[in-house]
């Protein structure tokens, strides 16, 4: 049975707001609408549950940290640290997001309609059936996918500041796992020395069609139009970027 609740977050400190959310989830409520969210941190943090929370406003840092299952719809922008070490769940952000989104994320999906800040998907990893996914509709700052150890990172460049390139510097530095797809081409000097562009395969096209399809659905965009442009696929040179660095003392 569908159980809904609306919580007005106006003027409520994050600790009380998150307590109210957890209490509602305990009461088996499966759709929560948060109104007037304005910078409250840690929404969804550490929660194991399959409910949906829709957020009107701007949630604060560490949205969905360690989260394990929720679906979050953010009708606004998100701040730093979204999906920090997230294990499972879906986050759909109908705006921009800040730095370090998807840090050490192990599972689940994050869709951002707009652009993202620095160090996004840093140290993202994967394990067995868990392959995290981040799709960014706009542009990304420097250190995109730094130390990435697994998962799929898609950057579309559909919007964002005009004078800005699709991705900042040091893209994929230290990357040792996972795949990155960037729509259009990336200048070589923007790439970290551990990544290289490779040919797209049929599997890549299918994968992109699936995830870009979901992205388009979330934000009401035209999937075919997005896919009409070629993509650059980036993977790490090797899984052991620092393998030969040492000698026994």
């Amino acid at each position: 049975m569908n159980q809904n609740i609306t919580i007005d977050a106006k003027g409520i400190y994050y600790r009380q707001l998150n307590e109210a959310i957890k209490a509602s989830l305990q009461d088996k409520i499966n759709t929560i609408e948060l109104q007037n969210v304005n910078g409250q941190r840690y929404i969804g943090a550490g929660i194991t549950n399959d409910a949906t929370i829709s957020i009107q406003g701007t949630p604060g840092n560490d949205l969905a940290a360690y989260m394990d299952g929720l679906t979050l719809q953010v009708y606004g922008n998100a701040q730093d640290g979204v999906a920090n070490t997230m294990n499972k769940g879906t986050i759909i952000i109908h705006g921009d997001a800040g730095d370090a989104l998807g840090y050490a994320m192990r599972g689940g999906e994050v869709y951002v309609k707009g652009s993202v800040g620095y160090r996004v998907a840093i140290h993202m990893k994967e394990f067995q059936e868990k392959v995290p996914l981040v799709v960014v509709g706009g542009k990304a700052g420097s250190f995109f996918g730094e130390y990435m150890a697994g998962g799929i990172l898609i950057l579309l460049g559909l919007r964002g500041r005009e004078e800005q390139p699709i991705v900042g510097d040091y893209c994929g530095t230290g990357m040792h796992g996972g795949i990155m797809y960037i729509r259009g081409s990336v200048e070589e000097h923007k790439l970290g020395k551990e990544v290289k562009p490779v040919e797209m395969t049929e599997e890549d096209h299918q994968r992109l069609a699936l995830y870009v399809g979901r992205f388009a659905e979330h934000f009401g965009e035209d999937k075919e139009e997005i896919l009409a442009q070629p993509f650059t696929k980036l993977i790490p040179y090797n899984k052991r970027p620092y393998g030969n660095l040492y000698v026994g003392a």
Binding site: R41, H123, Y242, Y246, V247, G248, A249
Partner: protein, 500 residues
């Protein structure tokens, strides 16, 4: 002809009179320092491969083996010692960063050995711990500034605390760095003795969830094996910012050590390198640290104290003050001598400061700022015996972590080759042939025995000082005197000179 500049470090001295060529040493030595010549049907030694771990010596049934320093003398030179010459040979060969295991072994002063403990004579008589109860109970966590009561009960709940029967815990050592049998030994011993062990940054093996109450789970920059279940599994959460053996740099578990079990516990694919970056990529300031601390508190509903572990470095006191203000409940200081599975040698031996000085400085700073009650202080990295513990508590620590000492209890012989993954004692290895040499039941008993012995000794020393509860020793520097220390050292340690 290409000449190898590197001579062996050790000489395998086989007493041919005693050796029966039974081949036990051949099987025991994972470093392949004992080999079998099938033609001649004899065992022979390959000195070059020996790391002096004593496994063969201990297992040879006829006591035929001795390991000696290789009798190779360089021309005397107080500056260019063999260590530097050999290091240059190695690096000229390989271009590699020198890697080492365990902690700094340089002859820097050990301040524990320059501190002496007091005892009661005539006045304030000493107490006999055999006849009178002695309290070692320790609570780690934030203590409120004042207590208020309502109807004879506490008006406000205390912040969460880790309750320990003894002030000694097992330091963070990850599954991956050490074997599951070693971890299980420590977990069982911690349970037996009413204290905690620490998962390190490698996640929590499914078989160890049962020791939750005696577990401190660690969160490091690589965020391995962390999910809500893990965060809630222990009695406290420790954020690792740094460690004494390698302050300022990250960790790196090579893919060879990431077998099926380690992979599942760390939640990364088998055979992949587990890289822990030097910083947490969401922490660039004290404010950011606060964010991580509170994200963990939120994720665990404020039921667990959160510790922050840093390496003892030059500005530890100021950093610790920031950590306390960031909302940590426990600060862990890891000194220059702290051990590790693998660290760049030059970092291990030259970066950081001795724990004694860092501890004294941090405790004093927190007192000066009237925030000492807001955090507990745990020190690690150099504790060798019970009197080191007593001295640490008197200098201001709430509890100590022991890592190296715990491994020695399990059989480690301090060969410092943990990074090779060939630990013949079954500790710093994932090779099933080697790990099975350490029986967890036996290991647990040895580790628990060590804690038992030290607790007895601590009680004796406490009783000697006329103190019957460890709490009365905490930060009680009057119980210490310095010997052979400079005025400056004495001032930093906050102790008087012996005789004063």
């Amino acid at each position: 002809m290409k000449v190898n500049y590197l001579m062996p470090e050790f000489l395998i001295d086989r007493d041919e009179q005693r050796c029966t060529h039974c081949r036990i040493c051949v099987h025991q030595c994972a470093n392949e320092a004992h080999l079998w010549n099938d033609k001649k049907k004899i065992v022979y030694g390959e000195d070059q491969n020996c790391v002096n771990c004593h496994r063969c010596v201990a297992t040879c049934p006829t006591r035929a083996l001795r390991i000696r320093n290789y009798p190779l003398e360089y021309k005397n030179n107080a500056h260019w010692t063999p260590h530097y010459i050999k290091s240059i040979f190695k690096q000229a060969n390989s271009g590699g960063i020198l890697l080492a295991g365990m902690g700094c072994d340089r002859p820097y002063p050990v301040y524990w050995d320059h501190l002496l403990i007091n005892a009661s004579q005539v006045t304030n008589p000493s107490i006999d711990p055999l006849r009178e109860p002695m309290e070692l109970k320790t609570f780690l966590g934030r203590k409120p500034e004042k207590l208020s009561f309502q109807n004879g009960k506490l008006a406000e709940a205390l912040p969460p605390q880790v309750e320990l029967d003894i002030p000694i815990m097992f330091a963070a050592m990850s599954f991956g760095a050490i074997s599951l049998n070693a971890m299980t030994s420590l977990a069982m011993a911690a349970k037996e003795m009413g204290t905690c062990y620490n998962t390190g940054e490698g996640g929590l093996h499914s078989s160890l969830y049962q020791y939750g109450e005696n577990t401190i789970v660690q969160v490091a920059s690589g965020r391995f094996g962390i999910d809500p279940e893990y965060l809630n599994a222990g009695t406290a959460i420790e954020i690792k910012i740094g460690q004494g053996a390698k302050p300022g740099i990250g960790g790196h578990l090579p893919g060879e050590k990431v077998g099926m079990d380690v992979s599942q516990t760390r939640m990364i694919p088998e055979g992949s390198d587990a890289i822990s970056p030097a910083p947490h990529h969401d922490i660039y300031s004290i404010e950011d640290l606060r964010q991580l601390i509170y994200s963990l508190k939120e994720a665990t509903n404020y039921t667990k104290p959160v510790a922050v572990k840093i390496a003892a470095v030059h500005n530890s006191a100021a950093i610790a003050s920031g950590i306390a203000r960031a909302g940590a409940d426990i600060i862990v200081l890891d000194g220059l001598r702290g051990g590790t599975g693998a660290a760049p040698l030059r970092t291990r031996d030259s970066v950081g400061i001795p724990i004694e000085l860092a501890l004294a400085a941090v405790d004093q700073r927190l007192r000066n700022e009237s925030i000492r009650n807001e955090v507990s202080l745990v020190v690690a990295g150099s504790i060798r015996c019970s009197s080191d513990v007593v001295k640490a508590i008197a200098l201001g620590a709430d509890a100590c972590y022991i890592g190296t000492a715990a491994l020695i209890a399990l059989g480690c012989h301090m060969c410092q080759k943990c990074y090779t993954g060939k630990c013949n004692w079954g500790i710093a290895t994932q090779n099933p042939k080697l790990t099975k040499r350490l029986d967890p039941e036996e290991g647990a008993e040895r580790a628990a025995n060590l804690l038992r012995a030290w607790s007895r000794e601590i009680k004796e020393m406490l009783g000697g000082m006329g103190i019957n509860a460890l709490e009365s020793l905490r930060g009680n520097r009057l119980m210490l005197r310095g010997i052979d220390l400079s005025e400056r050292d004495l001032a930093i340690l906050g102790v008087k000179a012996a005789g004063e």
